[in-house]
């Protein structure tokens, strides 16, 4: 018990930390590619300035993504040895393929970041393509491992041992496709609005130059496309959960009783003792309709399983509201942004503020979505196969390592924010910058020049 809570918390903060950088590692290369490509085509300096700046930021962010990802690879074993003993041969293949994606990403990112002068412009741009593709592939492949935990296939369980293993079936598990699409869109979306938020902030601070406007517009194009697609993909994800993990769905929606024609509850704070959801807005038949597309369908409630098998209902319910609420708010702001541009082509203060907020909401949605997925799966580490409590390490001292990791991640986050703020203080690429890129863009770390 001691270890269990600490291990869950350590895993959660490590994953939550990594996820931000993973999303940026998926989204930033695409933005860089677009900006550099436009720069090469139009010969406009502003695009190349943006590409340079984004490349510098990506250089730092990628390194933090890589080390925090390394931590996760170790932690799977350090915190959950029995889980890895069972799951290793089943989810390992996804990670093995991901390994090749990591290689390609790291190799071509090295070429991209340090090759501005050594490679011809077109060759340099081409090096960005494998970075963007393998970044997205990393996310898609790791999702296979996670969706297998939600919906395990490809083996028979005999006396607690996995036999008859079919790694291909485990890799291509039935939940994978839907969740991979949702995750990939989420990563692009969160990145796009973080970037948009930074440039909106700059515009708010009075730097109303082309550099900021173009930076904002590029991010908003990617952001809007993904923000429109995300609710559609989220709807598919929700129907998948209804099918594969009814308890999770019941927790997301605070559906305490099994009933036909279940209502959709928006907001509210679930009270698990009285099995009510005070302060929520109920839309009759809403849940039955959304989950199955039939307003009278029966929805299994939490009452179908003993209370000891419930996840933390309040956390799952509220996180789900945060994700969906953020997604819809961002979509609204994005549509207003384009409407304003279309009407009078000058950004008002309020829409810029809303876009800064969107930068935060995107990350909030990303993290909240993972809380829904992971906490909603509890008490199972592998749904209906292995309990989290049976998977934790017997080694002593998990509270210490947990405390250590929190401290470490706080220090990393503070330094990183400080550095990125210096990097983003607005000016595009100044003389100093030109000098460093003339020496082959060596100064990834030396952002003091900004």
């Amino acid at each position: 018990m001691e270890n269990l809570i600490a291990a869950r918390l350590q895993m959660a903060i490590s994953l939550g930390f990594h996820m931000v950088f993973a999303a940026l590692g998926i989204g930033m290369p695409l933005l860089m590619l677009v900006a550099e490509g436009l720069g090469l085509r139009t010969k406009k300096a502003v695009y190349l300035d943006l590409a340079h700046k984004w490349a510098k930021a990506t250089g730092i962010l990628f390194a933090i993504g890589a080390v925090s990802g390394t931590a996760l690879s170790f932690e799977l074993g350090l915190l959950w040895p029995p889980f890895m003993k069972l799951a290793g041969p089943l989810i390992g293949p996804a990670f093995a393929l991901e390994g090749y994606a990591f290689f390609i990403e790291a190799i071509f990112l090295g070429l991209y970041l340090y090759g501005w002068k050594r490679l011809k412009p077109t060759a340099h741009w081409l090096c960005g393509i494998p970075v963007a593709v393998s970044g997205a592939m990393s996310g898609v492949l790791v999702m296979s491992a996670n969706s297998w935990m939600q919906d395990p296939t490809g083996f028979d369980l005999v006396n607690g041992q996995a036999t008859n293993i079919d790694p291909v079936k485990a890799l291509i598990n039935p939940s994978w496709a839907v969740l991979a699409v949702h995750l990939t869109l989420a990563s692009y979306m969160a990145t796009a609005f973080m970037v948009a938020g930074v440039y909106a902030w700059g515009l708010l601070k009075g730097r109303r130059d082309t550099y900021h406007k173009v930076g904002l517009a590029l991010a908003m194009i990617l952001g809007t496309i993904t923000a429109v697609a995300q609710p559609i993909s989220g709807d598919a994800a929700a129907r998948l959960v209804a099918q594969t993990q009814p308890v999770k769905l019941a927790a997301m929606e605070s559906q305490f009783k099994t009933e036909k024609g279940a209502p959709l509850r928006i907001g509210g704070i679930p009270d698990i003792n009285n099995e009510t959801v005070p302060f929520s807005l109920e839309i009759p038949y809403g849940l039955s309709f959304l989950a199955t597309h039939d307003p009278n369908a029966e929805i299994q409630g939490l009452d179908a399983v003993p209370r000891t098998d419930w996840p933390v209902v309040g956390l799952v319910h509220i996180s789900f509201q945060v994700m969906v609420g953020s997604g819809l708010a961002i979509l609204l702001f994005a549509l207003i942004y384009w409407f304003v541009r279309w009407r009078k082509r000058e950004h008002g203060k309020w829409i810029l503020r809303a876009l800064v907020l969107s930068g935060v909401l995107g990350v909030a949605a990303l993290e909240a979505g993972w809380i829904v997925t992971e906490v909603g799966r509890q008490p199972w580490i592998i749904y209906n196969v292995m309990r989290t409590a049976d998977a934790v390490t017997p080694a002593p001292g998990v509270w210490y390592t947990f405390a250590g990791f929190i401290g470490l991640y706080i220090v990393l986050a503070v330094t990183l924010v400080w550095l990125l703020l210096r990097l983003a203080t607005g000016r595009p690429v100044d003389d100093e910058d030109q000098k460093t890129s003339a020496s082959g863009g060596k100064e990834v770390g030396g952002v003091a020049v900004a």
């Binding site: 390394t70 093995a96 090295g110 080694a395």
Partner: protein, 342 residues
């Protein structure tokens, strides 16, 4: 020895370990020389190190991830047992890996360094020193039989002392010295003039330390890991180790005579032979004395998947790595420039 799937998978793991040692090992070694940068050219040394590492360290680092992935995919029982037994040193190792990587991108050089970057510059060197020691210590403890795994898979180990034996310390020191040696040899090829002389001197010092620790290791092995010692001296491993010693002497000779390109090849060969000699002596165990490669292997279906996809991965990787290393490591037109900056 028949070539079963599990042996092939173990070979793949050894390949990843070898690549990690030869490539990422030198990046850690670079950090060691950053830590020990002294004299009038200290800043120039640091810059040369960071220029050499910059474009490649992240792809070099992926070899470690790849090794871990092979371990938990193909040898899940061994991976779980190791993770449990090395709960403490693996966490410390992670701390080192995270601090080193973060520090590399956070810090700056010389006058450009402001505020917290000064602290990160120190962290880079220290983390680069500590991490190789921990790697070596873990490897030492695995071979010496400090981890017992009962039939049901229960791990019996002293979490605090298993990795703190004299033998482990010596293995840690050897890893540190070898990494530093590799880095210094590589750096002689990426610098010129006085700076190159600095690294040449460092090569000779660390090469001497490698020899000294290796000699010290022999009695320790006999004392604490008799089975390993016996196997190292058996016909299975001895020829490979002997070849390693020849390469070691050759590379020292090459450095003395300023044949730096020869030194690089022979230094790499030396490290490869040492690792392979160790692996042959360790065979057929992954974790001596309870877990053999065969007994801890995943089902054939998984091993088959791993091995069947490896050539496809190699087809992607080899040309990419070739491109990376020719662009940044082939002929280095900026070496002169670097010394100019000094």
């Amino acid at each position: 020895m028949s070539l079963s799937l599990s042996t092939l998978a173990a070979g793949l793991a050894l390949l990843a370990l070898t690549a990690y040692t030869v490539l990422a090992g030198a990046d850690f070694g670079g950090g060691v020389w950053d830590f020990f940068a002294r004299g009038p050219r200290a800043n120039a040394q640091r810059r040369a190190i960071s220029d050499a590492m910059g474009p490649v360290w992240e792809s070099n680092h992926v070899w470690l991830i790849f090794l871990l992935v092979i371990l938990f995919t193909a040898f899940p029982i061994a991976f779980s047992a190791l993770s449990e037994a090395f709960f403490i040193p693996f966490h410390l190792l992670l701390l080192g890996i995270i601090l080193r990587g973060a520090a590399f991108v956070f810090r700056a050089h010389g006058s450009e360094e402001v505020g917290p970057q000064r602290v990160w510059a120190r962290a880079f060197g220290s983390a680069s020193v500590i991490t190789p020691v921990l790697l070596g210590m873990c490897l030492g403890a695995v071979s010496a039989g400090e981890i017992k795994v009962a039939a049901g898979g229960t791990v019996q180990v002293n979490y605090f002392t298993a990795w703190l034996t004299p033998l482990s310390w010596a293995c840690g020191a050897l890893a540190l010295a070898l990494f530093a040696y590799l880095a210094a040899v590589y750096l002689t090829l990426e610098t010129e003039g006085d700076l190159r002389e600095d690294f040449r001197r460092r090569t000779l010092v660390s090469g001497g330390v490698v020899v000294a620790i290796s000699v010290l290791l022999i009695p320790l092995l006999v004392w604490q890991a008799p089975r390993l010692a016996e196997n190292l001296l058996s016909l299975r491993a001895l020829p490979v180790l002997a070849l390693g010693v020849v390469f070691a002497l050759l590379s020292l000779w090459a450095v003395l005579n300023r044949r730096f390109a020869v030194a690089r090849v022979t230094a790499v060969a030396e490290v490869v032979m040492l690792l392979w000699g160790w692996a042959l002596a360790q065979w057929p165990y992954l974790i001596y004395p309870d877990l053999t490669i065969d007994a801890s292997a995943a089902p054939d279906a998984t091993l088959g998947f791993l091995l069947a996809t490896a050539p496809v991965g190699a087809l992607l990787l080899i040309p990419s790595l070739w491109l990376l290393f020719t662009v940044f490591k082939g002929h280095n037109p900026e070496a002169a420039d670097l010394n100019g900056k000094a």
